[in-house]
């Protein structure tokens, strides 16, 4: 880089020379050099298609062939159709799943953050499902839930009789819970690892002090761990709201969204693929994005309120945690 700067100096021997030698000039140079590629990639693969998608949402169009401008008709359709918003109801299952997942992850993370025999082995086991790819998850869970297969067999070991067990994917009163279970299974390990990281960052001497004061483990959890990871915890819950609204993979790979398991995105996918209503599907995506944005905004307001009352308020830290979670979420969405 230094050679580059030198080269630049030689080539422009006038005022620019001075400027480029100055800290200001170098700063501008490095800012541009370091940002141009990531911004280009972001623009080309994210915002350009996003813009196109928004444009599509105003057209009546298929994958191929002509398109007709229809204005807001697609948006009207999204709100008038019964299946779009009905599909959002299924998000409640995934929301519940998300909450359970966070509680479970926190519980296990707390245990594993302290001395535990074979701790790394346990961590590895629980993170394991996150390593499996989506297609494999589909195979595994069809196999898992088929009548008389894995899940039924294990429950029979536990004394259940097969007659009393429901059909896990067929019975519409349980099948969304089955998918929710698969979703928790897939992601709780990842949440747990994040929590372990956060808990490990808590100053160890605080526990010692607490122990000297006679605080038990549960009290330590309430008074030391929880306050220290409160923001990550609450934020995780809020993020699972948007995650549950856009739930896609578990129903898509396990049941293909059939039999009352079609979430909003699965419905959207079907509208785009089977009926080839690309415009309408795009409008659905935009509407959901709007909903998620509103919820994110509410979340911010909520935290402003919460953190006003928190004793160890630190806006900078909060901001950082928020970003971290966004990052974690991005990871989960991959």
């Amino acid at each position: 880089m230094e050679t580059n700067a030198l080269g630049a100096k030689k080539r422009n021997a006038f005022n620019f020379k001075k400027w480029s030698r100055s800290r200001n000039g170098q700063q501008t140079f490095i800012i541009i050099a370091f940002m141009i590629i990531p911004l280009l990639l972001l623009f080309v693969f994210t915002y350009l298609p996003f813009g196109e998608m928004v444009k599509f949402s105003f057209y009546d169009m298929k994958y191929v062939g002509r398109r007709t401008w229809v204005g807001l008709q697609n948006y009207k359709d999204v709100f008038q159709r019964t299946d779009c918003f009905a599909a959002l109801k299924l998000s409640l299952y995934y929301l519940l799943g998300g909450v359970l997942q966070i509680i479970l992850a926190l519980y296990l993370a707390t245990i594993l953050s302290f001395k535990v025999k074979l701790g790394n082995l346990f961590k590895g086991c629980m993170f394991f499902p996150f390593l499996i790819n989506g297609i494999a998850v589909g195979f595994i869970f069809k196999f898992f839930f088929t009548r008389g297969y894995v899940f039924d067999t294990v429950l029979q070991w536990c004394g259940f009789s097969l007659q009393n067990l429901p059909y896990w994917l067929k019975d519409q009163s349980v099948n969304n819970f089955s998918l929710m279970g698969a979703s928790i299974w897939r992601y709780f390990g990842q949440n747990m690892v994040l929590f372990i990281g956060a808990i490990m960052s808590v100053d160890g001497s605080m526990y010692e002090a607490a122990e000297l004061d006679g605080a038990n483990k549960f009290q330590q959890f309430i008074y030391i761990i929880l306050p220290n990871i409160k923001s990550i915890f609450v934020l995780n819950i809020m993020l699972s709201v948007s995650g549950s609204l856009s739930a896609f993979e578990p129903p898509y790979v396990i049941t293909a969204g059939a039999n009352g398991t079609a979430t909003y995105f699965v419905v959207m996918d079907r509208i785009a693929h089977t009926s080839q209503k690309v415009g309408l599907a795009s409008a659905m995506a935009v509407v959901l994005l709007g909903i998620i944005l509103i919820l994110t905004l509410l979340q911010k307001l909520f935290f402003k309120y919460v953190f006003k009352n928190a004793e160890d308020d630190n806006p900078k830290k909060f901001k950082r945690e928020q970003r971290k979670l966004a990052a974690a979420k991005g990871g989960a969405a991959q």
Partner: protein, 471 residues
């Protein structure tokens, strides 16, 4: 073998073929009176299907062509029939310098559409996906005029638009049910059912007297449900105009006509079977591959599948002799019919280089005439004048095959529009609506008449949106 979603996706969009072809007659082109062929002589120096003489034309042509196919099974090392590689090897005996590279796609329908919209270098030959007929010339090369092509192939109108033919069917099928003869016999069924009521009664008998699953839906595979759509036209009405003309203008087509025919009674068979527990217990975890073996050995009594499935099921176990094929149990004025029509069709990239187009044309013609591929796939003859019918049709002696007539001029894409608007997607991959029939019947949460009422409403709305005159 998702590959073979034949009718579901194809007949679907496509629709058409001019002549009612019955088993004894080979072809009958005479009814194409309205077509004009004033320009046909100008074709002579251009590339056209008719002008290709296999073994003579383009003998020295050197080209590599890419062929995109839905037949994922034909590249499988374990496939127990002729694989693509075998066909290509034979092709290379006649044309050693044309190299064919095949790519098979699992999610064929959606992937190919994406590729088409993405640009024009997707390859040289593909099985035409669900595009509008009006857009055919944007993507595909014309094989020649309709007149010319009808002298060459059957089902020439499958992908015809404005007198030009853009697709040559790779195979053609009839619609019916695969069944196990032994199980039917054990259940005391001596005569094949001819009406929905008889069929449901037979299924009940099978349930009582045998251990077999009377009707296996293959619900999980989804595409398998498309067979039910395919019965709607010829099998259920005996009317070759039904699919592309009548249905478009019919008010409330899903109403019970009261005579045991029509779409209503097709879907009702499935509803009733599901309601009465005559289908597999857990339809959400069905398994296509093993279902074939189960029908072969008598664990399953029957399945709703096109004629292409017959040979696969015969070959899926050691009881191939027990496997039979029957037409759908609907009788119209004392006669039984079966929907028949072209499967996925070869389309040649209109944007490929001249050499590649020539090579592709040669390849398509060879696949149709010399390869034996259609026959191997238990297809109705594709080459005009070919009278060699595969074994599966032996049970169709008293059954008349009905090939859908094309839509009226100017309404070529109307069915697509109505399908898309109503989201019923009849014969166009609308499997989810059929799966819902199974769900509602099993759960008992919606009556069949209510489902049909919903469909009627959706169809009526679509007709209104497209300003269709309804009668």
């Amino acid at each position: 073998m998702k590959a073979k979603r034949i009718l579901a996706a194809v007949l679907a969009v496509s629709t058409v073929s001019l002549f009612g072809c019955s088993q004894q007659k080979s072809t009958d082109v005479s009814s194409s009176g309205e077509t004009e062929s004033g320009t046909s002589s100008a074709q002579s120096e251009d590339l056209s299907y008719a002008n290709v003489e296999l073994g003579t034309s383009y003998k020295d042509l050197k080209a590599d062509i890419k062929f995109i196919s839905h037949k994922t099974d034909l590249v499988n090392a374990d496939y127990n029939g002729k694989k693509f590689a075998d066909y290509f090897a034979e092709f290379n005996k006649m044309y050693p310098n044309i190299k064919v590279n095949v790519e098979t796609i699992t999610n064929y329908v959606s992937d190919t559409l994406l590729r088409l919209q993405g640009g024009n270098d997707w390859g040289d030959v593909m099985m035409i996906p669900a595009v509008d007929k009006a857009d055919l010339s944007t993507y595909f090369l014309s094989y020649g005029t309709l007149d010319e092509m009808e002298k060459q192939i059957n089902f020439a109108r499958t992908w015809e638009y404005k007198n030009e033919v853009y697709g040559v069917p790779s195979a053609a099928n009839a619609q019916g049910l695969v069944y196990n003869k032994r199980i039917f016999k054990e259940a005391g069924i001596t005569e094949l059912p001819k009406t929905p009521d008889e069929f449901i009664n037979d299924l009940k008998l099978i349930k009582q007297k045998t251990k077999a699953t009377p009707l296996y839906t293959n619900y999980f595979a989804q595409w398998t449900m498309g067979a039910w759509d395919a019965y709607v036209s010829g099998s259920a009405t005996g009317d070759s105009k039904y699919m592309n003309q009548v249905l478009l203008h019919k008010s409330n087509p899903f109403t019970n006509p009261g005579d045991g025919t029509g779409p209503y009674n097709v879907y009702k068979v499935l509803y009733d079977a599901a309601k009465d527990g005559l289908i597999e217990k857990d339809y959400t975890t069905t398994d296509w591959e093993s279902s074939k073996a189960k029908l072969n050995n008598g664990d399953i009594a029957c399945m709703a599948l096109g004629s292409w499935a017959f040979s696969q099921i015969v070959g899926a176990g050691s009881h191939g002799d027990d496997v039979g094929y029957m037409t759908f149990p609907i009788t119209i004025n004392g006669k039984q019919y079966a929907t028949a029509g072209g499967d996925y069709s070869y389309g040649i990239n209109v944007n490929s280089s001249k050499e590649k187009q020539e090579a592709s044309m040669v390849f398509v013609k060879w696949m149709t005439e010399k390869s034996g591929y259609p026959f191997d796939q238990q297809s109705l003859p594709i080459k005009a004048g070919d009278t060699k019918y595969p074994e599966v049709f032996s049970s169709f002696e008293d059954v008349e095959l009905v090939v859908d007539d094309p839509a009226a001029d100017g309404e070529e894409d109307l069915l697509n529009k109505l399908n898309s608007d109503s989201e019923l997607n009849i014969n166009a991959g609308g499997n989810d609506k059929i799966m819902k029939i199974v769900e509602h019947a099993s759960n008992g949460d919606e009556s069949f008449d209510d489902i049909m009422k919903d469909w009627n409403e959706a169809w009526t709305k679509a007709q209104q949106k497209e300003n269709v005159t309804v009668s």
